[in-house]
């Protein structure tokens, strides 16, 4: 590796101070808003003085942190020095870098800077990733080119064809072959079927609270006097309005997050770029992909649509979007897209027969997955109702009415569970929590395999097979619950280095 291509020690753009202050303000947003609305009149001057003082100290400390933060590339390493009181030095060998993500929020756009996130192979341990939040485009390009060169140097050494470095100035994807673009129709459909209604509801309820705090009480009293009163119809209407608003918010937030989604392939690297406000772009070396998961959400499964993610050593579960390969795709298209992306995991989903769980597991799924939690809930409620005066204890039994549905859900989980190990040495596991998730990996990617047998399972000769692939954060684990015991141990052996010898999986990458 040419040492003449080193990046000398540099600071980030001073805009980092602003970005960092805004980030900490965001964490205090709720207390601040509450203080602003409830702050006593008499204490105002005192309040402002303390607040102003704290703010000044905060900004000064951020500025110092900015001054102390320096990065450089030298000796085949990315070196980052930071810290005001406790000095910290982090050296990351270039060949350990798993992926480099570029991002741009509206605020970063104002200052003309971009953020760079460098994912390392340290298994997502806290602080193992290097984040440079404010780089000028020129600096970001220089650093990316250097980091990319490091990676290609390694690739070239192992016999891969070196790719010419594409211009990386913009965050719009460029270079390489466009594999798939998310159409406008798909984007809206993705939003409409996304599970994002929960967060949207939270936003709405927060809005209501705010309105409630601001609007004077006499207004509500008047509404209560002159309005239609608390009729059933009123409640239903309000609920419908809130649900529709949440749904529209969910669609909107999906459109903002995944707008302009593109998947490109540049030799042995995959590029994903997306986002209307926060523009993001990540590069995933396809050889580093440990597993592919295909998730069919409850609302998407009926339409044969799925979300495809990759599990890669660099990616933790820091955001809902991390590791996304394609957010909304026809299930039938998945295997073709994986094949064109050059991933080893292009298993035809519908044409691969999955070995089911043994029949005696069905009852266990119905009871354990579904009904048992409701029985517990009923028990707790009965206890509560028994203590609360004037509530008959049998009110607590209400959840039991849901038992048939829960059991049905359990049976559904049972039917969706299964596995396959095909001749090409690919291991497919399907299961369901809420969404139906198919995990595709290769036995040689497995870092650890486990067979776990509880006391009841042992009596029925059932076992749970668990496996983990390399992954940042807590991801990368998957399980088959209630396999036949003999089958589980057989699989445990077949998935290991001895079991797969001579099965055509001896090739190395």
């Amino acid at each position: 590796m040419a040492d003449g291509f080193d990046v000398p020690p540099r600071r980030q753009h001073p805009a980092w101070i602003v970005l960092s202050v805004v980030r900490s303000l965001r964490a205090f947003a709720l207390p601040l808003v509450i203080l602003l609305f409830t702050g006593g009149r008499e204490g105002e001057a005192w309040f402002l003085a303390v607040g102003g003082g704290l703010a000044a100290v905060g900004v000064a400390s951020r500025a110092l942190a900015w001054w102390q933060f320096r990065y450089e590339v030298t000796g085949g390493e990315l070196r980052v020095r930071s810290g005001v009181l406790a000095r910290q030095e982090r050296f990351v060998p270039l060949e350990r870098i798993q992926a480099v993500d570029v991002g741009e929020t509206p605020l970063q756009r104002v200052f003309g800077v971009v953020g760079l996130k460098i994912e390392t192979a340290a298994g997502g341990a806290a602080g193992s990733d290097v984040t440079l939040e404010a780089l000028t485009r020129a600096d970001a390009d220089a650093l990316r080119a250097r980091l990319g060169a490091g990676r290609r140097g390694v690739a070239a050494a192992s016999g891969a064809v070196a790719q010419p470095e594409a211009a990386v100035t913009g965050l719009r994807a460029d270079g390489g072959e466009l594999l798939r673009r998310l159409s406008m129709g798909e984007l809206v459909a993705a939003g409409a079927t996304s599970g994002r209604i929960g967060p949207a509801l939270a936003v709405i309820s927060f809005g209501f609270q705010l309105v409630d705090d601001v609007v004077p009480d006499w207004f509500w009293e008047r509404v209560a006097m002159e309005g239609p009163g608390l009729s059933l119809r009123g409640i239903v209407t309000a609920a419908a309005i809130i649900a529709t608003a949440a749904w529209l918010l969910a669609v909107g937030s999906t459109v903002l997050t995944y707008g302009g989604f593109e998947l490109r392939r540049d030799g042995d690297r995959l590029q994903v770029s997306y986002g209307l406000l926060d523009r993001r772009r990540s590069t995933i070396p396809s050889g580093r992909v440990q597993a592919v998961t295909v998730a069919e959400g409850l609302l998407r499964q009926p339409f044969g649509r799925a979300t495809v993610r990759v599990e890669s050593a660099g990616y933790g579960k820091d955001t809902a979007e991390s590791g996304i390969l394609f957010p909304f795709l026809r299930r039938a298209e998945v295997s073709e897209l994986l094949r064109r992306a050059g991933l080893d995991f292009a298993v035809p989903l519908d044409a691969t027969p999955l070995a089911p769980l043994p029949d005696r597991a069905r009852r266990r799924y119905a009871v354990q997955r579904g009904a048992l939690s409701l029985v517990w809930l009923a028990g707790v409620l009965v206890a509560v109702a028994a203590v609360v005066p004037r509530a008959p204890w049998w009110w607590g039994l209400a959840p039991l009415a849901l038992v048939p549905f829960a059991a049905l859900y359990g049976v559904l989980c049972f039917r969706d569970s299964g596995w396959a190990l095909d001749e090409a040495g690919r291991f497919v596991v399907r299961g369901r929590a809420v969404a139906r998730v198919t995990t595709i990996t290769a036995p040689r990617r497995l870092q650890r395999r486990e067979v776990v047998r509880g006391p009841l399972q042992r009596r029925a000769h059932l076992a749970t097979l668990r496996a983990a692939v390399a992954s940042g954060g807590g991801g990368g684990h998957f399980a088959l619950v209630h396999l036949d015991e003999g089958e589980a141990f057989g699989l445990l052996g077949r998935l290991g280095p001895d079991g797969r010898r001579g099965t055509g999986d001896g090739r190395r990458t």
């Binding site: 040689r444 497995l446 870092q447 650890r448 776990v452 692939v469 390399a470 992954s471 057989g490 280095p497």
Partner: protein, 161 residues
């Protein structure tokens, strides 16, 4: 039914004494706290004296049983084997867990000695993969060192990542 024989090696027998001691050290303050708490409640007539006595005795019996019996059970069901290609672990009395970690996936391996472990001449072997760490909890010092070195050598020769 089970196709795979369990791993061959056991932990060091002194592990039982170690765990009994560390269990006692952890349990005694807890039992004392519960005893004092129940005593205070009984003093102020929040609970009646017989109830308090029964609670304290039950807690004491549970604690003693736990400290006396559990270490033995854990030890008797812990097995390991360092194979050529994989590390093979099995542990658990109620829930039995069998874990296999391919040598080729092990990134590094440590021995660890806590202050109590040092007293007993015991050490743990901890090995790390990209999906987390696994531990063999209580081996005699020299066995732990040999095991660590053997894993390190095998992990290196089988590196095909």
């Amino acid at each position: 039914m089970v196709t795979r024989p369990p791993p061959r090696e056991r932990l060091d027998p002194r592990a039982r004494t170690l765990w009994r001691l560390s269990g006692t050290l952890q349990t005694v303050p807890l039992v004392l706290a519960v005893g004092v708490g129940v005593g205070v409640l009984a003093w102020f007539d929040v609970v009646s004296l017989p109830v308090a006595v029964v609670a304290v005795v039950a807690g004491l019996v549970l604690a003693v049983a736990g400290v006396a019996v559990v270490p033995d059970l854990v030890w008797r069901h812990w097995r390991y084997e360092i194979g050529e290609a994989e590390v093979d672990l099995q542990h658990g009395w109620l829930t039995v867990t069998r874990t296999l970690v391919p040598m080729a996936r092990i990134q590094h391996v440590d021995t660890r000695r806590g202050p109590l472990q040092r007293r007993f001449g015991l050490a743990s072997v901890v090995f790390y993969t990209a999906a987390g760490a696994s531990e063999i909890p209580a081996l005699a010092d020299h066995v732990a060192d040999e095991t660590r070195d053997r894993i390190a050598v095998l992990a290196n020769t089988r590196d095909d990542l």
